[in-house]
């Protein structure tokens, strides 16, 4: 048995950093772990997916449709795009903000604002406006760590482990603000 986490967002939102923190947590807890990342072209503002899997013995590095325990989405449309990767009843943490893709900005299509409504009841959906919270914490860029804090409420890991791994993983100058953002997300 493994725990499967999927992080989705828009290129440049820091999905990679978040998955690396989660990888660090798994290592710290003594699990076997695999992460799968996206590099290259897709990072330029495209839809980005990273995976984290940990457990006794992890084989494939990806999380597949119907297998994610937790889906962390940094943007609403991306949450909808990948919801079917969740297990039935899985936890979906959504940073409930809208980032219009170029196909919408340029008028080729429209942004479906109610995309999450039909999913209510299928999963445990937790919405948070992390951008706003991050701004209150003092830096809009740490919204991803706020979301991670919210996700941590649904995971069985001690607080100091999180703080230690964050300290090790984020750029040295941003340790304090990231820890603060995490704790705010965690609800402390």
């Amino acid at each position: 048995m493994s725990t499967n986490i999927m992080i989705v967002g828009v290129g440049g939102q820091g999905t990679l950093l978040t998955s690396r923190i989660l990888g660090g947590i798994a290592i710290e807890k003594g699990y076997d772990v695999k992460l799968s990342e996206v590099h290259g072209m897709a990072q330029r503002g495209g839809s980005v997916v990273t995976f984290v899997r940990y457990g006794e013995c992890v084989r494939e590095p990806i999380v597949e449709e119907g297998q994610a325990d937790v889906l962390i989405a940094f943007e609403r449309l991306e949450a909808a795009r990948y919801h079917h990767f969740l297990k039935k009843g899985g936890v979906m943490i959504v940073n409930d903000v809208v980032i219009e893709p170029i196909t919408v900005i340029s008028g080729q299509t429209t942004y479906p604002t109610d995309v999450l409504d039909p999913l209510e009841g299928k999963y445990k959906i937790v919405k948070v406006d992390a951008n706003k919270i991050a701004e209150e914490v003092g830096n809009r860029r740490v919204f991803n760590t706020v979301v991670l804090g919210v996700a941590a409420r649904h995971m069985d890991v001690e607080k100091d482990v999180w703080l230690r791994v964050i300290e090790r993983t984020v750029p040295p100058k941003t340790v304090e603000i990231n820890q603060k953002a995490f704790l705010t997300g965690l609800g402390e």
Binding site: V10, G11, R20, G23, G24, I27, D32, V33, K34, L35, S36, E37, V38, H39, G40, M41, A42, Q43, R44, G45, G46, S47, V58, R59, E60, P61, I62, E64, E65, G66, Q67, L77, E78, A80, R81, H83, H84, F85, L86, K88, E100, P101, I102, T103, V104, I105, S106, G107, Q108, T109, T110, Y111, P112, V115, P118, K122, R140
Partner: protein, 580 residues
């Protein structure tokens, strides 16, 4: 000590531990991080070469001199490096030589989906393929041993999923390998017909010997379980088999060329139904079939894209159990960054209604809406010669409203040869070099015109203008990519000229380290006519408010001013904010 490493980091670590002394590469997703990692070891000389052919030759030279060496590339880079590597298969090596080649099933960041194992077979070069980070490190080390034992270059094949996944790896110490003494041996290193004929015999014999030896080598192994179903699998596909059907028997291949025929025969005899589960081409399947063995493969598994455990479950067990995806969602393709100089250049080309022959780099995104100016993209360096071909086919007048665009890194990769051709064969075309001072698309690597090398040390910087003139182009000029008036004038003039010309459009990539953006653009809603003209520039920082007035995300805007130049109502104002 165990550490989480990307497949690419593990490959670099393996080479380091194996005592590699020279590594040469040209960037290419998904192989780039191998070089970026190995450059951090002071014991290893590591360089960005201008292209993969040069990189392979550097590695060959180092190997002939007696040291362990490596070159790294993405799958299409192997096409560029094919010439030296095909013949290196004949010469064999001095010190061990490993070419790391990373394929891209699913085309995350590539122009095709070719399978390196096919090329390796044609080249008669042995191939090893690991299935996770830990194996990646171990297999590189084995590859160097095998290279020296069998006197052959070895290809270590990776794929995007392996290269860009992290897994736990046990770090070990570097072992310094004594240099092999250099020997002058024209029978081995001068490949003219008389010598090459003999080496061809050697190559054939070598593959046969290796195939026999590999039947008992731990790189290939049988994991017997339930013998009703048996899979032959390698690389990441092996992990999918173990995930989806842990109860099945597996022949896990670590060596993909030559295949261990004896082992395959044994496995086939012992399982009832035999499948080959391999991403991309049926390389193993066809060889197994040629051995007269009944096997199921591409008739139920696709040649396209990446595999997964779900794909296997569906094809073999007929099981598919998950929610349907939401249909009809807007796509979110990659876009040029806010403040990207390419966008400014394209906006001028669009207004002038030019046909644009493209090349490969971030600027290839200029092919899609809303920019939609680039009309062809084939391979790196192709734009200049493609335009030349159009001109020679249709005449000078036909291309008076055509240009080609090529990035600075791509120009130095193979574009420069094409420019030589255009000058030599009297082309009259207009070549636009998009000089953003970096190799943008693959993550901002240095190149021969940036003034730094892979190790971050100062390096001589080629002056592109002087280079073009030395080739014989007399009409060469440099304009700022953001000076749209100057660029408009230059393009009008040069496309009409009856001579070959080069316009270098210079402005640093918006993501380049140290690039400071003192300005941002703000919308004056009172003046905004809600016409949406600014939005057509295609910058992702722009959108519309509910009342249809233009909106700029201040976090994203880099203040390049392009959108403001689209506004006829003076509703957009550039202000100094000194960000960063």
């Amino acid at each position: 000590m165990k550490k989480l490493l990307l497949g690419n980091e593990a490959i670099a670590r393996g080479a380091y531990e194996a005592g590699v002394k020279v590594s040469a590469a040209y960037p290419g997703t998904p192989s780039t991080e191998i070089s970026e990692t190995i450059a951090k070891y002071p014991e290893v000389y590591a360089e960005w070469s201008p292209n993969e052919k040069v990189a392979a030759e550097v590695a060959i030279g180092a190997s002939i001199s007696g040291v362990r060496s490596m070159c790294c590339m993405k799958h299409v880079g192997l096409n560029v490096a094919a010439d030296p590597l095909f013949t290196c298969a004949y010469t064999g090596v001095g010190g061990g030589l490993v070419a790391v080649v990373a394929d891209d099933p699913g085309l995350y960041s590539s122009q095709n989906e070719q399978d390196t194992r096919m090329i390796a077979r044609a080249a008669m070069i042995p191939v090893l393929e690991p299935s996770d980070s830990a194996e990646a490190k171990a297999f590189v080390k084995r590859a160097f041993e095998l290279s020296e034992k069998y006197d052959t270059p070895i290809i270590l094949r990776s794929t995007t999923r392996l290269s860009h996944s992290q897994g736990a790896v046990e770090l070990e110490d570097r072992v310094e390998v004594p240099d092999k003494p250099y020997e002058k041996r024209i029978d081995k290193y001068v490949m003219m017909p008389g010598m090459a004929k003999k080496r061809h015999l050697y190559v054939e014999d070598r593959l046969n010997r290796m195939a026999a030896d590999m039947a008992t080598d731990p790189l290939n192994r049988i994991e017997y379980a339930d013998k009703k179903i048996g899979f032959i699998a390698s690389g990441i596909a092996y992990q999918y088999v173990k995930e989806a059907m842990p109860e099945a028997s597996v022949l896990k291949l670590g060596v993909l060329n030559p295949l261990p025929k004896a082992l395959i025969e044994e496995f086939a005899k012992n399982v009832e139904t035999l499948y080959v589960f391999e991403e991309l081409e049926p390389v193993v399947e066809e060889q197994v079939r040629a051995m007269g063995i009944k096997v199921i493969g591409k008739e139920i598994f696709t040649r396209q894209g990446e595999y997964s455990a779900n794909l296997l479950r569906k094809a073999v067990l007929g099981v598919e159990d998950y929610e349907a995806p939401t249909a009809g969602l807007p796509a979110r393709p990659p876009v040029l960054c806010p403040g990207c100089p390419h966008r400014s250049v394209f906006s001028v080309m669009k207004r002038l209604k030019l046909h644009v022959i493209g090349d490969i780099g971030c600027y290839t995104l200029g092919a899609v809406a809303p920019i939609s100016v680039i009309e062809t993209t084939i391979c790196m360096g192709s734009s200049i010669s493609t335009l030349h071909g159009v001109e020679k086919a249709k005449g000078k007048d036909y291309i008076k409203n055509w240009v080609c665009v090529i990035g600075d890194s791509t120009f130095l990769h193979t574009g420069v040869n094409s420019l030589i051709n255009s000058a030599y064969n009297r082309s009259s075309g207009t070549v636009v070099i998009l000089d953003n001072r970096t190799t943008g698309m693959t993550g901002h690597q240095e190149h021969a015109a940036t003034g730094k090398n892979l190790k971050g040390e100062p390096a001589p910087a080629i002056d592109l203008e002087t280079l073009c003139r030395a080739i014989g182009v007399t009409r060469v000029r440099t304009v700022s990519a953001f000076d749209r008036d100057a660029l408009t004038a230059a393009l009008k003039e040069e496309t009409q000229a009856d001579e070959l010309s080069v316009i270098i459009c210079r402005a640093p990539c918006a993501l380049l380290k140290g690039n400071v953006f003192p300005n941002k653009v703000f919308v004056d809603a009172a003046k905004c006519a809600k016409c949406g003209a600014c939005i057509t520039c295609g910058c992702p920082a722009l959108s519309k408010n509910a009342d249809k007035t233009a909106k700029i995300d201040p976090e994203m805007c880099n203040g390049c001013g392009l959108c403001a130049s689209f506004c006829k109502f003076g509703a957009m104002e550039k202000r100094e904010v000194l960000k960063k």
